[in-house]
Amino acid sequence: MVHIDLPQAPVVCLDFWCRAGSARETAAESGIAHFLEHMVFKGSERLAAGEFDYRVEALGGNSNAATGFDDVHYHVLMPPEASNDALELLLDLVLQPRLDAEDFDLERQVVLEELAQSEDQPEEVAFQELLRQACGSHAYGQPILGQRSALEAHRPEAMAQFHRRHYRPERCCLAIAGPTAALGGDLRQRLEHSRLGQLSPGDEEEPPPPPLALRPGEARLELPRLEAARLLMAWQLPGAADQRSVLGGDLLTTLLAEGRRSRLVERLRENLRLVESIDLDLNVLESGCLVLLEAVCETEQLPAVQREVRRVLLELQEQPPAEAELERARRLVGNGYRFSLEVAGSVAAMVGNSALWQRRHNLQAPLDWLQQWDGAALQRELVPLLAPERAFCLQAVPA
């Protein structure tokens, strides 16, 4: 359990994290981690379906959850005076899901609707295809929502088994951020007596996350309902355990594609006017971070866009970034981080995720790493990993 006191914040965030993302699924379990996240809100042994939402929201709070490749988290935002109630409710809900058969069938419909909704967004379909081809059989290549056929076959018993296997005390953590005074001083003691404290640890060792080995390559995809072409590219950087690299990756993607004066935006959108937009995102993941590029353009511009992206990346390999350019990126990343510390929910998410994966740095550390990176180190350590020939590149065009 970790907690951060933010006395000025108007709400407390309680964020329960568990290493039960889609990467822990077997092939037959496709989509079960996310489906389970839905089922958790269908009640526990003590809470009827919908009772959790009702009680949290009647106290002026709200809750939500998100399933990723590596982990899942359930968070509640509450007025400080009601945070004790939220704590009990949340632990009860997450650790003892009821998985009622009738609810299960109904919620399966909801998950299938969620899948259909994402399939109606051609951009999401294109990204899914990029990951499938780039990551191969690794879990990062599989949809978190799952395969339709697997979803249709899931049974409550298999889900209960997945829950027992992964929702174990040594694979969970609870993060609290906000004005925590109302929670009282005996928090740790209360937790020990809660459902969380009474769980017994698993007897089997948890295998480490399987390493990712992104396959470079190229593909082209025709998509109905696409209005503008997309150039999508994916690269692999070191995994989240290497936080210094993560900050370096943030710096590099910012230098390349954040703001009008970043290299890719300036070249492709502002000067050559080849694209409507170009984005480069760092996805922080345990088995290997993914850098994903998306350029939106007319179909006939695709070759030129690809050529220019390549050129910008090669220039960076040849010449380290100038200090002013680097300082601009440092300020953008640093301020983005400081701005996020204003919000209880993002603080809880950051410290919760760190604690879950046993990273023991404090909230200041990322800002220090940011200062330590210089142009030469970036060029030596990270720029080569973003070489054009290391990318998987997908062209998606309107059918």
Binding site: E57, L226, E342
Partner: protein, 434 residues
């Protein structure tokens, strides 16, 4: 229930010689400053034949102003790691700045430089126009956007709220420097307010005024004035598309922020669409498994704000989805919600207020909107108090007055459209439209 929520440690009015109220919301703690300059007259005031002009201008304001070229301005702002954006919405053009408090002295002059001395370089206008045209085209990939665009036309026709702030393709193509120059003259003339929130350094007034650089600016304080009306015509519109799901949007035009029954309607919004215990979530998703996303869209507006229920459901469940959605609307007209449901809606209303005040930006944004509507600083707290007095009957009356003659907009495959249409035609809501 009605105890006021903390707004800021200290609220004061800034002193400067302009007729644009300046408010300082001091929040100690993080050394962050957020500024929001709200100027009445967004896409709702696009002239006929020039739809898209407000947004085009908004985009161009940060492409050169005062002593800075587009590149120099981007260097300055990004070099401070700050965010400076200008966007047009239906009722207003909004300039937003977020930065470290230490950089405030450097960056604050930009706000009035953008308003009073934008460069409006032809080449930069051409770029911004091209980007907006491309965005309009790309938005058609999203069936929700398609259904929403059609609904907007059903609700407002060719009136001020009838088009996407990005504009209408054929008209946007024609827009050049002259149209933008005319718009610049109007910035602030219909009412403007500036709100700063966060750790605010001393002497911000002088830094802001430094942006005038010898020019003058004569804005007016915001006043309560009626905004654009809706058509209240009812009816069905369908957009065929080869999607998996059918998107359904059912909506009508209602009333401005701060108007007579607006608060009752806001509580109905909370009841229907806020949180997982909301009526639509429980009835359509939890009980019928009909959809993943369900909700209510009801933004604050100066004029007759839209009130829209929406969901998307598999094409083969079109009949059930349409029937259940229409029944939810009908139910609001036929019976009041229970006292328990009202109590829950009030808790959500209050919770939303607290959640909307987490960051300096959120705080500045909300207060700029309220003040821009000509409402008092204490509007939100007064609304919380007033909400405590409302009864289920008050909400029912508001529903019966405001939620009449809804329009249904559908986007999806042809078979699903036909099935949904049959449901619509046999439902009392469509009969009332005839």
């Amino acid at each position: 229930m009605s105890a006021p929520l903390a707004l800021a440690a200290r609220v004061e009015q800034g002193h400067w010689p302009l007729d644009c109220p300046l408010w300082l919301l001091h929040r100690p703690g993080a050394p962050i400053l957020s500024a929001k300059l709200w100027m009445r007259g967004g896409s709702g005031r696009d002239a006929p034949g020039e739809r898209g002009a407000a947004q085009l201008l908004a985009g161009v304001l940060s492409r050169g102003c005062g002593p800075y070229s587009a590149d120099a301005l981007a260097d300055l702002v990004e070099g401070c790691g700050a965010g400076l954006r200008c966007e047009a919405a239906e009722d207003a053009t909004l300039i937003s700045l977020k930065c470290a408090s230490d950089d405030a002295a450097t960056l604050l002059p930009l706000l009035l430089q953008m308003v009073r001395s934008p460069w409006l370089v032809e080449d930069q206008i051409a770029l911004e126009r091209q980007l907006n045209l491309q965005t309009l085209q790309r938005q058609r990939e999203d069936p929700f956007q398609v259904a929403h665009d059609v609904l907007r036309e059903q609700l407002y026709g060719s009136g001020p709220y009838g088009h996407d702030p990005l504009g209408v393709e054929a008209e946007l193509r024609q827009l050049g420097r002259d149209a933008l120059q005319r718009q610049v003259e109007q910035l602030g003339a219909q009412g403007a307010v500036l709100v700063l929130a966060g750790a605010i350094p001393d002497g911000v007034e002088q830094r802001l005024l430094a942006g005038l650089e010898g020019t003058t600016w004569a804005p007016r304080p915001p006043e309560r004035r009626a905004g654009p009306p809706g058509l209240k015509a009812g009816g069905l519109a369908t957009s065929p598309d080869e999607t998996e799901q059918l998107v359904l949007m059912l909506g009508t035009t209602t009333t401005p922020l701060g108007a007579e029954q607006a608060l009752a309607l806001r509580l109905l919004h909370c009841h229907l669409g806020i949180g997982m215990s909301s009526r639509l979530f429980v009835a359509l998703r939890e009980e019928h498994g009909l959809a993943y996303d369900v909700g209510v869209h009801h933004p604050a507006r100066l004029g007759d704000a839209p009130f829209v229920m929406h969901l998307s459901s598999s094409a083969e469940r079109a009949v059930e989805a349409t029937r259940e959605l229409l029944n939810e609307w009908q139910r609001l007209l036929e019976q009041p919600i229970s006292p328990e449901e009202l109590e829950l809606a009030r808790a959500k209303f209050r919770g939303q207020e607290a959640l909307g005040r987490q960051t300096s930006s959120q705080l500045a944004d909300r207060q700029a909107l309220v003040l821009g509507h000509g409402l008092p600083m204490a509007f939100a707290d007064r609304s919380l108090e007033a909400a405590a007095q409302l009864t289920p009957e008050d909400l029912h009356r508001a529903a019966r007055t405001l939620l009449t003659q809804p329009c249904l907009s559908l986007c999806g495959p042809a078979t699903a459209l036909r099935a949904a249409e049959t449901q619509w035609q046999r439902h009392p809501l469509s009969a009332s439209a005839a």
